[in-house]
């Protein structure tokens, strides 16, 4: 369960905060950090299973937001989505000891069909996603988690599980369909 930190402003939109960060407003960065640091850190820690490495990714990511906030185009997607995808990609690169590219704020957008700018909305989505993940058949959940949290390609998952490639694709697709229902 996520709880807002004391003094966290929940009524200001991400874009307002980002605009202020572009003007080098430290309080705005602080508020954005309070809003999403738990999600970003938890995701990176789940992938890396290393608190120090996850904290390093978290700090680097928000430092990048500080330096390049003005490049983010709101029309191209959700800031929360971008933070989570960027943290995931960095953690996977670190996990696989690859020198991954650093995502820029003006690169591919990420659209969330739900607004997660308040901790209440985040908690609601946490409950829904957990419920869906808990209800998925074990093999579907495993395929999804191997891809997203371990950075395995579908052929690597097929090799690991001893299943045909087509079966793995079907499992991932079915799992994603269940997940999308949460968002619809």
């Amino acid at each position: 369960m996520l709880t807002p930190l004391p003094g966290t402003e929940e009524t200001t939109s991400d874009w307002s905060l980002l605009a202020r960060i572009g003007q080098k407003d430290e309080e705005a960065l602080s508020a954005l950090y309070d809003r999403y640091s738990g999600l970003v850190f938890s995701e990176a820690r789940r992938i890396l299973r290393d608190t120090g490495a996850a904290e390093e990714i978290l700090q680097d990511l928000f430092f990048q937001v500080w330096r390049t906030a003005e490049r983010f185009d709101p029309a191209r997607g959700s800031l929360a989505g971008w933070l989570l995808v960027a943290a995931r990609n960095r953690a996977i690169s670190k996990l696989r000891k690859k020198s991954g590219q650093t995502e820029e704020l003006d690169e591919n957008g990420v659209s969330f069909s739900v607004n997660v700018e308040s901790h209440a909305a985040q908690n609601l989505l946490l409950d829904k996603v957990r419920a869906v993940m808990g209800s998925l058949p074990e093999n579907q959940r495993e395929a999804l988690e191997c891809a997203y949290f371990e950075g395995m390609s579908h052929s690597e998952i097929a090799e690991k599980t001893g299943q045909p490639l087509g079966t793995i694709k079907t499992r991932i697709r079915s799992a994603m369909e269940s997940l999308k229902k949460v968002l619809s």
Partner: protein, 269 residues
């Protein structure tokens, strides 16, 4: 892979999950960089994949992480300021420790120390004032550069021989509004709009390019300022996109990935 052969949603979802081998992922990246429709679908697929992060056990990072981050950004800011406005650090004169002498000598040294402190304070105040003025001039220079880039873009669109003109008409939600779009597939889009209705609080105008195939592509925000009179805006669209129509809608400040609010201007290309 050409724009005509869009990538299947299933492949985009696998890409967003990171489940595609490197060569397939590279082919998708190359296609998406030039295809607005697939970029939009990929953004949605990316959002769907990122939702998986909500399924993990939630933990808070140590408080020291934030403290270090804030210290880091302050150091970065100070370094930038130092690089932007190099200035000699104010010299604080060191006052030699007085040796034991007569009282008149101590009194003279004390007076000198006060005078030096006042001079030091004056220099420091002057230094700060100069730094503030330099910062203001730096901001004005940045504004001028931004304006120049905007004008260059404007000229690039308006002067290109293959730029097309599209008239926009006000909808029933904005009967008096009118607009004119100048569109060039290589250099961008310019909108001139007049008599747009006052924006409600928390809303801004968003310009859309409706491609011949696929869903609308955002061409940029028109500012939350409530422009009631004629104004000219430059917008960004993916290169070589063929438009079917242009529209302006009212959306929440910050814009939306797809139009959700009422249309105020509309015109077929």
């Amino acid at each position: 892979m050409s724009n005509a052969e869009h990538i299947r949603l299933e492949e985009l979802e696998l890409f967003a999950l990171g489940a595609l081998p490197a060569e397939e992922a590279a082919a998708i990246e190359a296609h998406v960089s030039g295809c607005g429709e697939c970029a939009l679908k990929l953004a949605q697929a990316g959002g769907n994949a990122a939702v998986l992060s909500f399924g993990v056990k939630q933990e808070r990072p140590a408080g020291t992480v934030k403290a270090e981050l804030m210290a880091r950004i302050r150091a970065n800011r100070e370094a930038q300021q130092r690089n932007a406005w190099p200035q000699k650090a104010p010299v604080t004169p060191s006052i030699p420790k007085p040796k034991a002498r007569g009282s008149w000598w101590n009194w003279a040294l004390a007076t000198a120390a006060v005078v030096l402190a006042l001079v030091s304070f004056g220099l420091s105040w002057q230094n700060r004032r100069i730094a503030t003025e330099l910062q203001k001039e730096h901001q004005e220079a940045e504004t001028l550069i931004h304006d120049r880039e905007r004008i260059e873009k404007l000229v690039g669109v308006l002067a290109a021989p293959d730029t097309v003109t599209v008239k926009l008409a006000g909808t029933s939600d904005a009967a008096n509004a009118s607009g004119l779009v100048k569109f060039n597939a290589k250099t961008g889009v310019v909108l001139y709009a007049a008599d747009l209705p006052e924006l409600p609080a928390g809303k801004s105008y968003q310009m859309w390019l409706v491609p011949a195939n696929g869903t609308p592509i955002s061409a940029g925000l028109l500012g939350p300022g409530g422009h009631a009179w004629g104004s000219m805006w430059t917008g960004e669209v993916p290169l070589n996109t063929q438009p079917k129509a242009f529209a302006v809608t009212i959306e929440p400040v910050g814009g939306m990935p797809q139009p959700t609010g009422p249309k105020v201007l509309l015109g077929a290309a």
